[in-house]
Amino acid sequence: MATALQILFSGLTVGAIYALVAIGFTLVYSSSEVVNFAQGEFVMLGGMISATAVAAGLAPLPAASLAIVATVVTGILLYGLAVAPARDASPIVVIIITIGASIFIRGLASVGMGKEFHTLPPLLATPTLDLGGASVQTQGLVVMAGSVAIVLTLWLFLRMTKLGRGIRATAANRLAAQLAGINPRVIVGLTFAISALIGALGGILITPITLTSFDVGTLLAVKGFAAAVLGGLTHPAGPVLGGLMIGLLEAVGAGYISSQYKDVFAFVVLLGVLFLRPQGILGGRAVERV
């Protein structure tokens, strides 16, 4: 029983990390049909800038704030300098631009912040908790709580504020939104900024568990993207569901079947679900997205 519980906790911890990375993908995709592959780099920047600043002597809170501001600026620059000039291009071209940008950001980070691995202290003083004979990292619980809080805030923002309604209007019908006086360029730029904010927050929260380095973003983005696709790229809760599912599948695969094939196991389920529901588990029809 304790073994099963331990494996469950492992899955939930990993799943929460994937979910937190995945949330960032949905917003940009909803408003512009672009998968921003630099999302993993936002996660990396959040963790790396915080860790570098802490190592330089800054207290954790100002270090984290600095990382968030710097990442949001990076997100806005990414949109303004690389994505906006290509606004007439098809989404696939813009996706390739974001891949190029992610390589560029990674290169800058490796030159500017070094190639070593870094970590951050966990948020809570007790690193692990004993629950029913199994042990769970408190930071894992923080990551889970963080994902839920971010999804709820995002949901409230999109429903309750004028800007949020502007994003939803642009997502539903860009031309109609434009006719109603919404500037889609500002809206899409805003979604990049918010995604960068979410990515940086995620990067800071997961670093005590995953550790960080300049190239942490790529593989996290792959898993996060898979989670977002599984849960549904257009539904705010989709990434959380998808992330937790992939995390649990991997843990059950590694714990009970074979750790060599745990990724295969998770991706087989992913393919199966997408075969039956290409829009993801929670993904709706185009008009209903966000």
């Binding site: 331990q6 906790f9 990993v14 070094g114 691995f117 042990s135 996290l220 590694a254 714990g255 750790s259």
Partner: protein, 379 residues
């Protein structure tokens, strides 16, 4: 046609002439200073540059200055091969020291073997020098030696049932293969081999599965990078209840910092470099180790690591051979490399022979244990 042909000839020969005209010894290097292995390649590059400058400031080699030509393969073995060809054909180097990962070194070996240029590899895999190749030498400890050292220690402690948890990179895979092949010789039974992906952030599921094995006495983790730190933390988290061993890939200051208090009691086979200050003054390596530590910490402001030490040994082995040969002629340097005898390096005391291009034995490794956040010598 004739003038054109002459021109073509002149252009083709120009780099060669230019090289010959300079009184410099060109030493080539291909390292992984960007990409996933860059945390290994970077200290290697820094070490090479710092020591090349020191050698030149002290008058060079045989009255000539050495000049390094360093290429970055981006941690990709196919790039290594391209740059190896470039070093041979375009730069016309007389010797090469480099190759961060085992895969990178193996990709370059055929190029240097064909060109007849001595190659001192900085990678760990035993496949580089076993079987012995005429032009290839390497100072770093091999993964097979790491296995032997860990198994000897396990046997002494009566912990003969062990399980592996390893990453999926070349280093980890090679080490597990080597360990599997020598386990029988030391009477060690491997009960399980678990693995995890290159960026996995939680290995408690695998460790829980291992922990439940009946009769298991010890767990060995083979990997480089952040994996060992996460495995160490997870083992402490689930209260593994048996000794955890790491490989020499975790023998870095970074590992101690990332794993924190969870590393307490972890053992690993490591080079003397990490415990230089604890060695008795009579130890022949102590002076070399302390010198290297002082030079690098002054030049880079960072603590020394095993991998930078490999670069130090590789470059100085070459220079030593050139001095004994009295020239930088590739064939003569190769012959002298093979005759290296009792050379004190950071990895150990190196004695090469026609049947041994590694030159160190198990005594070059020390069994280290983490005590109060620092490395301590067990034997």
């Amino acid at each position: 046609m004739k003038p054109i042909r002459a021109l073509v000839c002149a252009v083709l020969m120009a780099p060669g002439l230019a090289t010959a005209a300079r009184s410099e010894i060109l030493i080539g290097s291909v390292l992984s200073t960007t990409g996933p292995a860059s945390f290994l390649g970077e200290p290697e590059k820094q070490t090479l540059e710092v020591y090349a400058k020191r050698i030149n400031d002290a008058g060079g080699v045989n009255g000539e200055k050495i000049r390094l030509i360093i290429y970055d393969d981006g941690s990709d073995a196919s790039n290594s091969r391209t740059f190896a060809t470039r070093l041979v054909e375009q730069d016309q180097v007389v010797a090469v020291v480099g190759g961060t990962g085992t895969g990178n070194s193996l990709a370059m070996i055929p190029v240097f073997e064909e060109a007849g240029i001595p190659f001192v590899s900085l990678s760990g895999g035993v496949d580089i020098i076993d079987p012995v190749r005429k032009w290839v030498f390497k100072p770093p400890h091999t993964d097979r030696m790491a296995c032997a050292k860990i198994f000897t220690d396990l046997k002494q402690r009566g912990l003969t049932n062990a399980a592996f948890i390893a990453g999926q990179g070349g280093y980890a895979k090679s080490m597990v293969t080597q360990c599997r092949s020598v386990a029988g010789q030391y009477g060690i039974k491997i009960l399980a081999e678990e693995s995890y992906g290159p960026r996995d952030s939680d290995m408690t599921a695998q460790l829980t599965r291992i922990k439940a094995l009946p009769g298991l006495k010890a767990v060995i983790n083979a990997d480089i990078g952040q994996g060992p730190a996460i495995v160490t933390r997870n083992a402490a988290q689930i209260n593994l209840g048996m000794p955890l061993y790491q490989s020499h890939g975790a023998a870095t200051q970074g590992y101690l910092e990332l794993a924190g208090p969870a590393a307490e009691g972890v053992r690993l086979p490591g080079p003397s470099l990490l415990v230089a200050e604890q060695l008795p003054d009579s130890d022949p390596q102590k002076k070399v180790l302390l010198d290297y530590t002082a030079v690098i910490e002054k030049a880079t402001g960072k603590p020394v690591g095993t991998f930078g030490g490999y670069a130090h040994d590789g470059l100085l082995l070459l220079v030593d051979a050139m001095k004994r040969a009295g020239s930088a002629d590739p064939a003569k340097v190769r012959d002298q490399l093979e005759k290296t005898k009792g050379y004190v390096a950071t990895v150990g005391i190196i004695t090469m022979s026609p049947t041994d291009h590694l030159g160190i034995d198990l005594s070059a490794f020390r069994m280290l244990e983490v005590k109060r956040g620092k490395w301590a010598v067990v034997d």
